[in-house]
Every structure is written in structure tokens, then in C-alpha cells.
């Protein structure tokens, strides 16, 4: 078992996924038709033997509260462990003050009461596989004060906008954490994942609050980078981050690639847990035609589906053609509809014969409960 508790952080202030985020926080987004994004960090933590997990939430907590419940589906012993939602109860009107440091500060009593010595902070809006127990061991062995997880990318001009990147020296020391402005392709994208002693977090929160009420954890680490031993740890394997609408759309479709899917899900001892809805299997009718797609249970397919992700309980009627799209749960696509490059939110109803086609690099969005 791991001598650390964990904090799963909500998306940052300046990242928004247009449309989708009006209804739920990013960590509660549906993913691959069956998961929610929060399943990835929580499964990673549970598989790493971390059984005290605090999920911070800022707005619209309902979907997350129902999904997480008491953690049993994530294989967490509900007596010994604890999966809890923490609300930023002091959130203020002026959004610039709502920093991660503010959330820690408003829950500092709970942080102090944790019996573990270390804390792992990891985001609810990134998709990757990571053994945090190994990461903690590495952190302890290295003698560093703070270990930051990063992923090397070569497409940072086009992607990962608004996230931060690390500059590291040859000894893996972190020189700076800066926003990715998109001027260079090769970057070490910071995965917003920290390992440190609980006491150091408490100290940093106090310092940050003293320095400025707008300071976040990154600001104080940058400020303290001379006095602290901050090291980077390179993550390998599949990685995606959801920081805007397009990144959400692309992360879904990207995992139709069986090799990538295997890299993320194929490890036998590393299940990605989620909540079942007890849907029945998919029923394909005679006139259906489906290729290169992932279809969640409960769906009924009469039409054509290509390169798409179909959520739970979706009905696609005959003559309808779905291409390169992500359809969230319980939507109904009537006869002869054509959808290309779309994200259709839950419970939507697309009426007979509609043709909704968007360019591949600017996918469209249909709102929840909408009838079109």
C-alpha cells in the first residue's frame, strides 16, 4: 500500500470546452462512449494502492457525485479507504481568485488530517496510464522535494494550447514551468501531476496565499524553484489532455487506433474502472453497416456508422449515416440523417433527413436534450 493520499484537480480556470462544459465539469465528460474522464485518474490511483482520494469539484457536481459514489466500483475498500468529493466552499465571485491554492486552503483541515506522509496531485482532465506507486518510489529515492510528471510531445504548436510545459536540465531538474504559447513543437508538456510531502503542500499553500491571492501552485513553485529540489519525471505511453473542444473530439477518435487503445487499456493488471448502467448488448439490424467504430452497449443500429464513437443507449435509424463523430448516450438519430465531424451531446434528437456536416478541423456540437 502507498504512503500517499491523492487530490484529483478540476480543470483550470482558463481552459473551457465550449458547449459540453455548460452541463458538467470536464472530469465528468463522457469518453469512448462508456467512461468518464475521472475514471482514468481514479483507476490509476486505485491500481497504485492509493485508497484515499479527494476529487475537487468547482461547479455542477451532480454527475460527478453520482458517478463516483463510494468508490466501490474503483475497487476501493469503502471502510479503509475514502473517495470523497470536495467542494471549494469559499469560491468567490471574481473568478481570478479561484485558484487551485484557494481550493487547497479551503480544505486544509482535511488535508492535515490525512494519515499519509505524501500527496499525489493529478488532474481529472487528462487521459493516461501511470503507476503512481512507482512514481512515489522514484520521488522518495531521488530525494527531490517535488516531482512533476511530463510528456514529451512534438506537436505543441498546434496542440496543448493553454497547458504548461517544463524546462528541465540534464539532471531532470525543473528550471521553469511556463504556459505553452505554441511557438515551438518540441515541448515537455506538464501533466499537472505533482508528488511531494503533505507538509510541503501545506507550506506552499500558506506561502502562496501570503504572496498573492491570485497565486496558484505553479506560481509558487516557480518562485521557490531555487530553494526547492523540483524534478521532472517523463511519462511514456498514451497521453491526451482535454483542454478545449477539439482536443476532446480528437482524443475520442484517436483511440479507434487499436494500437493506441491497447497501450492505454491492454495492461492486464491495470483495469480502467467505470460505472455500469446495465445496458443490454448492441443490437445490429439487417440493414446496418458499421466499420472502424466503438459502440457502447444499449445501442440499436439500423444505419451506417464509420470512424465514430457511439455512446450507451443510442439509436441510429435506417438510412442514417454517421461519420467521424462522437455521439453521447441516449441520443436518437432518425432516418436518413447525415452527420459528419460532430459531437452530439446526451439525449439529443436529430430529426429525419437532417444533414449536419462540419469540417474535420472544426467539428460541430449539438447540445444536450436538443431536438434538431
Amino acid at each position: 500500500m502507498c504512503n500517499a493520499f491523492a487530490i484529483v484537480t478540476p480543470s483550470e480556470r482558463h481552459t473551457t470546452v465550449k458547449g459540453m462544459q455548460n452541463y458538467r465539469p470536464i472530469s465528468a465528460f463522457s469518453f469512448l462512449g462508456r467512461y468518464r474522464l475521472i475514471d482514468f485518474p481514479v483507476s490509476n490511483l486505485s491500481n497504485s494502492g492509493v485508497d484515499r482520494i479527494q476529487v475537487y469539484v468547482s461547479q455542477n457536481p451532480r454527475s460527478l457525485a453520482e458517478h463516483l459514489s463510494d468508490g466501490r466500483v474503483y475497487n476501493i475498500n469503502s471502510k479503509k479507504g475514502k473517495l470523497q468529493l470536495l467542494f471549494n466552499q469559499d469560491s468567490v465571485e471574481n473568478d481570478i481568485y479561484n485558484t487551485d491554492v484557494q481550493s487547497y486552503a479551503s480544505n486544509i483541515d482535511i488535508i492535515k488530517r490525512q494519515p499519509q506522509d505524501y500527496v499525489i496531485i493529478t488532474p481529472g482532465y487528462m487521459v493516461f496510464r501511470q503507476d503512481f506507486s512507482a512514481l512515489l518510489d522514484e520521488h522518495v529515492k531521488s530525494g527531490a522535494d517535488v516531482t512533476l510528471l511530463y510528456h514529451k510531445v512534438n506537436n505543441a504548436k498546434e496542440h496543448f494550447r493553454n497547458l504548461t510545459y517544463l524546462t528541465v536540465n540534464r539532471q531532470k531538474g525543473v528550471k521553469s514551468i511556463e504556459p505553452n504559447l505554441g511557438n515551438i513543437n518540441d515541448r515537455n508538456i506538464f501533466m499537472s501531476t505533482y508528488v511531494m510531502k503533505k507538509d510541503l503542500l501545506i507550506e506552499l499553500v500558506a506561502k502562496a496565499q501570503k504572496a498573492s491571492s491570485m497565486f496558484n501552485l505553479i506560481s509558487i513553485l516557480n518562485l521557490e524553484s531555487d530553494s526547492l529540489d523540483i524534478r521532472g519525471y517523463q511519462h511514456k505511453g498514451y497521453f491526451s489532455a482535454i483542454y478545449d473542444f477539439r482536443s476532446y473530439y480528437e482524443a475520442n477518435l484517436e483511440l479507434l487506433d487499436q494500437e493506441k487503445a491497447f497501450d492505454l487499456f491492454g495492461q492486464e493488471d491495470w483495469p480502467i474502472y467505470t460505472v455500469t448502467t446495465d445496458s443490454c448488448p448492441v443490437h445490429y439490424y439487417d440493414c446496418s453497416s458499421v466499420t472502424n467504430s466503438m459502440i457502447a452497449n444499449g445501442s440499436r443500429i439500423y444505419g451506417t456508422v464509420e470512424n465514430s464513437i457511439i455512446g450507451r443507449g443510442v439509436e441510429i435509424k435506417s438510412g442514417a449515416v454517421i461519420r467521424n463523430s462522437v455521439i453521447l448516450g441516449h441520443s436518437t438519430i432518425e432516418e436518413n440523417v447525415v452527420l459528419e465531424n460532430q459531437v452530439i451531446d446526451k439525449w439529443a434528437h436529430i430529426l429525419e433527413g437532417r444533414k449536419i456536416i462540419s469540417p474535420a478541423d472544426d467539428p460541430g456540437y449539438i447540445r444536450r436534450d436538443d431536438t434538431i
Binding site: H283, Y285, S289, V290, T291, G298, I309
Partner: protein, 381 residues
């Protein structure tokens, strides 16, 4: 502990030997069905949806997997404070030795102390081998309205097949006047579904008497029901209309799976008001490959299809490789059909692999082919 008006006892101890290799290591109620279910999910989900909280599952034969499976009572929401699914195997008692269950009635008799510990008014006795959806709460209302000592669910079967069933002969008021096991010349087409509601106090007396009776075969149909009829107790028939199937043979198990492909199938597993709950597999949604062709199929999560699938049912984690062709077939959990192989009118046992290019089954066969061992690739042996 809240008072339990009715608790359910599921008879799950049968060997199910007509299912051949499928039940050589797995008790029949734990056999997979319909992509993601096991047979016992049906009575258990029916109980949950009918508001029954306490369910005893009477097992004895090869029941490791079944015991593990039903112990996970949360699958059916039966893990709330005063609910539970309890595995009841034969136990040693203070005054007696250990004994197998000698018959359906004896299985209940040996667990009188379990039932007494909940002090129920009624006991529902179910079989663990049937596929159907039924609201037992409505059957209980019927039982109470008729002031019955026992209520037996019956279903109309074609008259010419009636001699294969236990037949209930009723008077004009629905009272059972006679029970005939597989009558040569049936007088009615009302077949017993093996679903009984008993008023516990009455039932208890008959069970205690039956236990002491050396002549008895300790069976509900053969001993308890006739004894109650003989004593003039009130036994009524509750007529069920809907889908009901005994999946006792390979052919009938295959047929019940094929029934799911019919969009008008009365079982309707997608009805949100009566969900059949099951264990959740930690698997990705199914992936349908770039060159796959699917025509009429029932496929569950964890499956991967790269070839052709026609009128078939694919269970969790089964796979159809490139250029393979699967027709009128059931692939049970983890079965794999290799590249270019052809499988027709077959039922593949869990985990069976069909080698590359192999040809299995026959479109014109009378019976369904059960494949329970790996089939080597064409050319290998």
C-alpha cells in the same frame, strides 16, 4: 431488521447434464446467456425488480463459480442494509450429519432454520434455469387475493407438447385440482413453470412431514404439491403470459440466444422499466474493424469484430478475426474465430479458439454443434 414479507429461494443445484461440457465445471445457473448475462441473472433481477430483498441460492454441484457470482449481491442491488443473496449449501447440524440435498423440497427443508430466521409470511421458490421476466409481487397479490396456500405459475404450451411438461388441471375458478407430471394424455395445456409461492406456515408443516417420510422423493412436483392437494389445501394457478424458456439443452440454449435477434422478441432486454442486471465486465466498448460486415447481430462490450457476422450472438470478449465468417452461431465469452475460419450453426463454449481457415458446423444440421475444445487451423492437427 425489518420484517420480510416474502423471501425467495432459488433452486440452483441441478447438474444440468444435458448441457454437456458447458456444465462440466460450471453449475447450470452460471452458464452465460445473451451476450453479457448468466442464466441466474434472470430470477435474481426479477427478485430485485419485484422488491424482494432476501434471496437464498441453493447450490451443491460444481458451484465455485456460481457461489462467487451470486455472492456479489451488489450486481442486483441486493446489498442494501436488509438485503442479501445467500449461498446455501448443505450444512452439518448439531443433531445430524452432512447430507446432500435429496430433492427440490429437501433443499428447502434443510434450510428451514435460514428461512425461520427472517420470519417471512411467504416463500417464493424459483428455479435457476429459466429465461423470463416476471413481477413476483403481482403474483403475491394474486396469492393473497385467492387466500391460497400455494400459488403455482403456469404457462400455456401447445397441446401436442403438453405431455413433456408438468401439467396443472384447474377447475373453473383457477383452483388446481390435479397435477400430472408428463401425462400421456394431458387434460390441459397449463404447464408448471417451477415458480411457487407458499404461505410459509403451511409449507413448513409439509416440509417437516416430508423430511421424515422415507417413501418420499422430496420433490415439490412429485410429493409436496400432491400431498397438499390430497389434504384439500387451496392451490391456485397463476397464468403467465410472456417469454419463458427452459434452456436445458444445447439446442434450446442456442434458440433462446437466437430469439434475441428478433426485434419483436417478447423478452425485450432493453426495457428500462425491468432491467436484467448482471456482473459488469471491465472492458472497452466493442470495436468493429475497418473491414467488418455485420448483418443482424447481438454483440456485447469487450468484443472485437474484423470479419463477417450474420445472425449471431457474441458474448463478452469474443473475437471474429479478419475474413472469418460467423453465421447462426453463439460465441460464448472469450471465444475466438481465427482468420478466414467459417463457423455455422454452432455454439462455441467459453474460451474456445477456432484456428485459421477451419470450417466448423453445418447449415443443414438437425442439432446445433457444441464446440467445447479448440479446433486446429486448417492443415494443422
Amino acid at each position: 431488521m425489518k420484517h420480510n414479507e416474502m423471501l425467495a429461494m432459488i433452486l440452483a443445484g441441478g447438474r444440468g447434464s444435458r448441457l454437456k461440457d458447458l456444465t462440466s465445471k460450471v453449475a447450470k445457473p452460471a452458464v452465460s446467456f445473451g451476450g453479457k448475462y448468466r442464466i441466474v441473472d434472470f430470477p435474481l433481477s426479477n427478485c430485485a425488480n419485484s422488491g424482494i430483498g432476501i434471496v437464498g441460492v441453493l447450490t451443491q454441484y460444481e458451484s465455485v463459480l456460481l457461489n462467487r457470482y451470486v455472492s456479489d449481491s451488489g450486481n442486483w442491488g441486493l446489498d442494501s442494509r436488509d438485503s442479501g443473496v445467500f449461498v446455501l449449501s448443505p450444512r452439518e447440524k448439531a443433531e445430524e450429519g452432512l447430507d446432500v440435498y435429496r430433492g427440490t423440497a429437501d433443499a428447502i427443508s434443510q434450510n428451514i432454520d435460514f428461512i425461520d430466521s427472517y420470519d417471512p409470511d411467504y416463500v417464493l421458490v424459483l428455479s435457476g434455469d429459466h429465461i423470463y421476466k416476471m413481477n413476483y409481487d403481482k403474483m403475491l397479490d394474486f396469492h393473497k387475493e385467492h387466500n391460497a396456500d400455494a400459488t403455482i405459475a403456469v404457462i400455456g404450451v401447445p397441446m401436442k407438447e403438453a405431455s413433456r411438461f408438468g401439467i396443472m388441471n384447474t377447475d373453473g375458478n383457477g383452483n388446481i385440482v390435479e397435477f400430472e407430471e408428463k401425462p400421456e394424455h394431458p387434460k390441459s395445456n397449463l404447464a408448471s413453470m417451477g415458480i411457487y409461492i407458499f404461505s410459509w406456515k403451511t409449507m413448513r408443516k409439509y416440509l417437516v412431514a416430508d423430511m421424515k417420510n422415507d417413501q418420499s422423493s422430496h420433490d415439490f412436483g412429485k410429493d409436496i404439491i400432491p400431498a397438499m392437494l390430497g389434504d384439500g389445501k387451496t392451490l391456485v394457478a397463476y397464468q403467465f403470459k410472456g417469454y419463458w424458456k427452459d434452456v436445458g439443452t444445447i439446442d434450446s440454449l442456442w434458440e433462446a440466444n437466437m430469439d434475441l435477434l428478433d426485434s419483436k422478441n417478447a423478452l425485450n432486454l432493453s426495457d428500462p422499466s425491468w432491467i436484467i442486471y448482471s456482473e459488469d465486465a471491465v472492458e472497452l466498448p466493442q470495436y468493429i474493424g475497418k473491414d467488418a460486415k455485420i448483418h443482424t447481430a447481438y454483440i456485447t462490450q469487450g468484443c472485437r469484430v474484423f470479419g463477417d457476422v450474420n445472425r449471431s450472438v457474441l458474448f463478452t470478449n469474443s473475437m471474429v478475426m479478419e475474413k472469418a465468417c460467423v453465421t447462426s452461431t453463439v460465441l460464448m465469452d472469450g471465444a475466438v474465430v481465427g482468420e478466414g475460419a467459417k463457423v455455422t450453426r454452432a455454439l462455441l463454449a467459453p474460451g474456445v479458439h477456432i484456428g485459421k481457415g477451419a470450417v466448423v458446423g453445418d447449415a443443414d444440421s438437425e442439432h446445433i454443434l457444441l464446440v467445447s475444445k479448440d479446433v486446429p487451423a486448417k492443415g494443422d492437427k
